[in-house]
């Protein structure tokens, strides 16, 4: 399902797609329950991260994906074990979606010893190599070329994994985006670039600073790729689109560029109250909330409410338990300040 985009993009209007009851059996109930669960888990964990920030237990900065859950969930559910993902500083959602425990993520946000990187990376650098989460990158655009390199390795070693690279609409205006797209196409790399267009580059509407209406979609033609702009608030649409892109990459047919239209409920970062939004915009998008949309669909498909309520309760228990574990966790021990600068495990640069 490709969303039609007007000349001014969708800056103030949620995607106008017909929401028919989607009974297509290509996804199946088990996968749909997984998609529902992932979205609820991301929502609850992100909301908790925000609450912990208000309690001054999460320090530094954090960039939430509230409202954008369907993208991370839809992509992760379409991946295979061994597939790699690269995300941005707004990467809690994509990290959780790959199966990284909530406690590890919240612990890292809180700078505790139980954190994913024991407090050495923080919110913007979540990394879990064992889950295929190859890092979260806080310099706009940096990870698109890096994702190309991971895909190059798969191509060179004839390995079947596909690399996914998540980024925001703002990234489409930086040079590395264009270098990476061209590079991935000419080398026919098994990488899928996923642009989450949440309508704002940090504080400024993306439409105000971009030459084309669809920041990623309208650039695709420059690299010989089809324009793919989808409803990023519909997990099924994301899942189906990604499946097709992954299949294409695994067949050796090269990269894809997919723009997912979505909306960020919170500000850019914790410092941003998002006062720049036109009145009513947030409320309109909340009518199009990805979890609300998905739950309604599952209801219409006849999946028992009790099943979904059980998922909700289970997720809440997981997030509560993770929160308690993090609150009890000690800070990192001082000895790790000097570890892992170099591969010998230490920080010695001279004799």
């Amino acid at each position: 399902m490709v969303v039609k985009v007007g000349p001014k993009g969708l800056a103030a209007v949620p995607p106008q797609v017909e929401r028919q009851v989607d009974r297509q059996e290509d996804i199946g109930e088990a996968k749909r329950l997984e998609l529902y669960r992932l979205q609820v888990l991301i929502r609850e964990a992100e909301q908790r991260a925000y609450d912990l920030f208000l309690q001054n237990l999460v320090k530094g900065t954090s960039h939430l994906s509230l409202g954008q859950e369907a993208v991370a969930a839809g992509c992760a559910a379409a991946m295979q074990p061994g597939d790699l993902s690269f995300c941005t500083y707004r990467g809690h959602a994509h990290t959780l979606a790959r199966g990284v425990p909530v406690e590890k993520v919240l612990g890292e946000l809180m700078g505790r010893d139980n954190g994913l990187m024991r407090g050495k990376g923080g919110s913007m650098h979540l990394t879990s190599v064992e889950h295929g989460v190859m890092g979260s990158y806080a310099i706009i655009g940096a990870h698109l070329p890096i994702a190309c390199g991971a895909a190059w390795r798969a191509q060179y070693k004839r390995q079947s994994d596909v690399t996914t690279c998540f980024f925001g609409d703002g990234t489409t205006n930086i040079g590395a985006f264009h270098e990476a797209l061209n590079f991935a196409v000419i080398w026919k790399l098994p990488v899928v670039f996923v642009c989450e267009n949440n309508l704002y580059m940090e504080y400024t509407p993306i439409a105000d600073v971009t030459a084309v209406a669809s920041p990623a979609g309208d650039r695709a033609a420059a690299y010989g790729l089809p324009k793919i702009v989808i409803d990023g608030n519909d997990a099924d649409t994301v899942y189906r689109t990604m499946r097709a892109a992954y299949d294409r990459a695994r067949r050796g047919e090269g990269p894809s560029l997919i723009e997912c239209l979505t909306y960020r409920y919170s500000g850019h970062s914790r410092a941003d109250p998002a006062k720049y939004r036109p009145a009513g915009e947030l409320e309109r998008w909340k009518q199009n909330d990805p979890i609300k949309v998905y739950r309604r669909r599952l209801d219409e498909m006849g999946i028992a409410a009790s099943k979904l309520d059980a998922i909700d309760a289970d997720v809440r228990r997981i997030v509560d338990e993770a929160t308690e574990a993090c609150k009890k966790a000690p800070p990192p021990s001082s000895d790790i300040l000097f570890t892992d600068v170099y591969a010998d495990g230490g920080s010695t640069w001279r004799n």
Binding site: R118, K120, G149, W152, R153, A176, V341, Y342, A343
Partner: protein, 326 residues
């Protein structure tokens, strides 16, 4: 034993490592079909094929980013950034990505790659194609920085860099590509973090890097012939890791130290070494350390002007003579 140019040593070093390890791959602008703009990579495409020796677009960020992604996931890439000055257009990887990925991930991410750059002046290319970039790189914890001055060191240090598990910036000097040196047959593997004592002496220590090494050696011969001064000359070779102990031992013996640096003066590599000497060998010194550098100016294009800017044999020997007799 054969005589080899510095340029041919680059190709031999890369070939030695590619033949040994299939995970070693090589990418850069004009490096494959054209054999490199400095002709330092001739024959590699023919020997190892287009899957391992790959031409790229003029996309320095894509080159270094792709090298990093490949290194993180199991390859050992060698990336070429043609003129070292171009590191400035992909500096994010030098400053933010390569050196920090292991630390930020608490040891999960590895980054075993080599970035070869053609550095330095003397070719009359002007301010944007002549810079010495060692100090652009040595300031970041997590990165290693190596700069060979002879063909045998090119091969040995390149091999050590490719086999090293950390990211290494390998600084080749453009004005040395045509220089020649004796190179033994067979595999050559050196060690990072070892300075090389090239001339022994008792009157002073001269520390040099890259193109400044042959100039420091020539200056030492001139000082011996004309003034009876015996200078010890050390090729620092590896800024990170730094062989500080060899430098400190020489200073303890000669009591005088000079650095010869091609970089503009402020924050050159010699400043860090002099600071170490001041901290740890102050009472070994008979006089203040002297830094002989390019002045703090962009490099001019004219041969007359460029030769005035970069330390010459005459300037090095005169600086040392004046300082020792003072």
């Amino acid at each position: 034993m054969a005589e080899l140019t510095y340029r041919d040593a680059v190709a031999r070093g890369i070939a030695q490592e590619m033949a040994r390890d299939e995970d070693v791959v090589f990418l850069g602008e004009d490096i494959a079909k054209a054999g490199g703009v400095f002709k330092a990579t001739v024959g590699l495409l023919e020997q190892f094929g287009p899957l391992r020796v790959r031409d790229t677009p003029i996309s320095e960020q894509a080159i270094l980013g792709a090298a990093m992604g490949a290194a993180m996931t199991g390859l050992k890439p060698i990336a070429e950034i043609m003129f070292a000055d171009f590191l400035a257009v992909c500096y994010d990887y030098i400053a933010n990505e390569f050196p920090k990925s292991r630390y930020m991930s608490n040891g999960q991410v590895k980054c075993p790659l080599v970035v070869r750059v053609g550095s330095g002046g003397g070719a009359r290319f002007g301010a944007q194609h002549s810079q010495s970039v060692e100090n652009w790189c040595m300031q970041f914890p997590g990165l290693k920085v190596v700069a060979p001055s002879s063909p045998v060191d090119v091969i040995g240090l390149l091999a050590a860099s490719v086999r090293d598990p950390d990211p290494v910036i390998f600084v080749e000097h453009k004005s040395l590509y045509a220089s020649k040196g004796e190179v033994p047959d067979g595999e050559i593997v050196d060690q990072l973090g070892r300075a090389k004592l090239l001339r022994t002496g008792s009157d002073c220590t001269i520390l040099a890097l890259g193109l400044m090494v042959p100039r420091a050696l020539a200056a030492a011969e001139k000082l011996a012939a004309e003034h009876g001064v015996q200078a010890e000359v050390i090729d620092v070779r590896s800024l990170v890791p730094l062989d500080a102990q060899s430098i400190l031992a020489s200073v303890a013996k000669t009591h005088r130290v000079f650095t010869v640096e091609e970089n503009p003066r402020v924050l050159g590599w010699g400043a860090e070494i002099v600071s170490i000497i001041a901290d740890e060998a102050f009472y070994d010194l008979d006089a203040p350390p002297v830094r002989i550098t390019t002045p703090h100016i962009p490099l001019p294009a004219s041969d007359v002007l460029e030769d005035m800017a970069i330390p010459s044999v005459a300037r090095i020997s005169e600086s040392v003579r004046r300082s020792l007799s003072a």
